[in-house]
């Protein structure tokens, strides 16, 4: 009777398996392109400063999201690829919920000389340590192997 039918067999309703097939290509953006091209050639980061509120963005932006003002080229500067850990966690499972071979320390690192934080993997064997406040430096890929993506930053230590 259609809608008013009773379902008495739990195996009766079926399922259809499938997947979503698509690959993605994300251009880095105008600001991001400059940042990554700089990182390919140098062992430092670029940052940009809003002329109104003086917030320093790293990775740099074309505009300040709070003031909604464009950041001119003259407000870009180099900063060192180092920072301080503000938050961290110890990850024991991968994205599919399976145990990792060895735990990973994932941290939010405030880049020196900026108001910005980025996510990074910490290279360590000490999984009991409290990393908050620890100063770290970025360990970058060898220059000839850099591709111009965040993976050029291998670890922080």
């Amino acid at each position: 009777m259609g809608f008013l039918e009773k379902q008495t067999d739990p195996m009766s309703p079926m399922h259809w398996r499938g997947d979503m097939q698509a690959d993605y290509f994300y251009p880095s953006g105008v600001a991001g392109d400059r940042f990554f091209k700089h990182l390919k050639q140098n062992d430092s980061f670029l940052a940009s400063t809003c002329k109104k509120c003086n917030k320093v963005y790293c990775p740099p932006r074309l505009y300040c999201e709070d003031c909604f003002e464009e950041i001119p080229d003259s407000n870009w500067k180099q900063v060192s690829a180092s920072g301080t850990i503000k938050l961290f966690t110890l990850a024991k499972l991968n994205a599919h919920g399976e145990n990792l071979e060895s735990p990973k320390v994932v941290a939010m690192i405030e880049i020196d000389g900026t108001n910005s934080r980025i996510l990074g993997l910490i290279k360590t064997n000490d999984f009991e340590k409290d990393f908050c406040g620890t100063k770290v430096k970025a360990l970058l890929r060898p220059k000839d192997k850099r591709e111009g993506t965040m993976k050029d930053i291998l670890y922080w230590e």
């Binding site: 259609g2 809608f3 079926m14 399922h15 398996r17 997947d19 993605y24 994300y26 390919k40 111009g148």
Partner: protein
């Protein structure tokens, strides 16, 4: 407030940085690549489950909405026009007429093919006008296919049917019925 810009023509300029396919190929710009792995298991619901089981058995099922006085195929648990529950299951003949069609020179991955694929919508017999589903057409050429042509389903052999819309291979011209 900031300075208002008095341009004579709008849009006054076109901001944006054009990237050519060659810039991507030659890596003149930086980019990040990502291949997501997303798996799905869609619940078919009672109506679709019965429809697909029917296809496995070589039958096409429709469902009756008494208020709208229409037999709906593909079937569903409720009628979206009167928003009421649907009622009896009805077995439909596997014949119909071509509602619309296309002659495609692109395969499903948008690659060009020499021999076109004939695809379209079949308006099934036993249902109100314009009620049917999409499927392939076969045993006819691109010059023969016409809207209004009578067609009949060609089924896979019983042991190859899985409970899928592809249990019907295609619809062919109904012999003796003409056009």
């Amino acid at each position: 407030m900031v300075e208002k810009k008095e341009y004579k023509e709008w849009p006054p300029y076109a901001p944006g940085t054009y990237v050519r396919e060659s810039d991507i190929r030659d890596k003149n710009i930086t980019y990040t690549w990502w291949e997501p792995e997303v798996q799905y298991s869609w619940s078919l619901g009672p109506a679709m489950s019965k429809f697909l089981k029917g296809l496995k058995a070589g039958k096409i099922f429709g469902i009756h909405c008494k208020r709208c006085k229409r037999i709906i195929v593909p079937p569903r648990m409720f009628c979206e026009y009167c928003y009421g529950p649907t009622e009896e299951w009805v077995e439909l003949p596997d014949t119909g007429i071509i509602e619309t069609f296309s002659i495609s020179y692109l395969d499903p991955d948008a690659r060009r093919i020499e021999e076109p694929i004939l695809v379209g919508v079949v308006d099934l017999d036993g249902t109100p006008p314009h009620h049917g589903f999409m499927h392939y057409f076969g045993e006819m050429t691109k010059d023969e296919i016409k809207i209004g042509m009578k067609v009949k389903a060609v089924w896979k052999p019983e042991n190859e049917r899985e409970g899928s819309i592809t249990d019907i291979k295609y619809f062919k011209p109904l012999k003796g019925g003409g056009e």
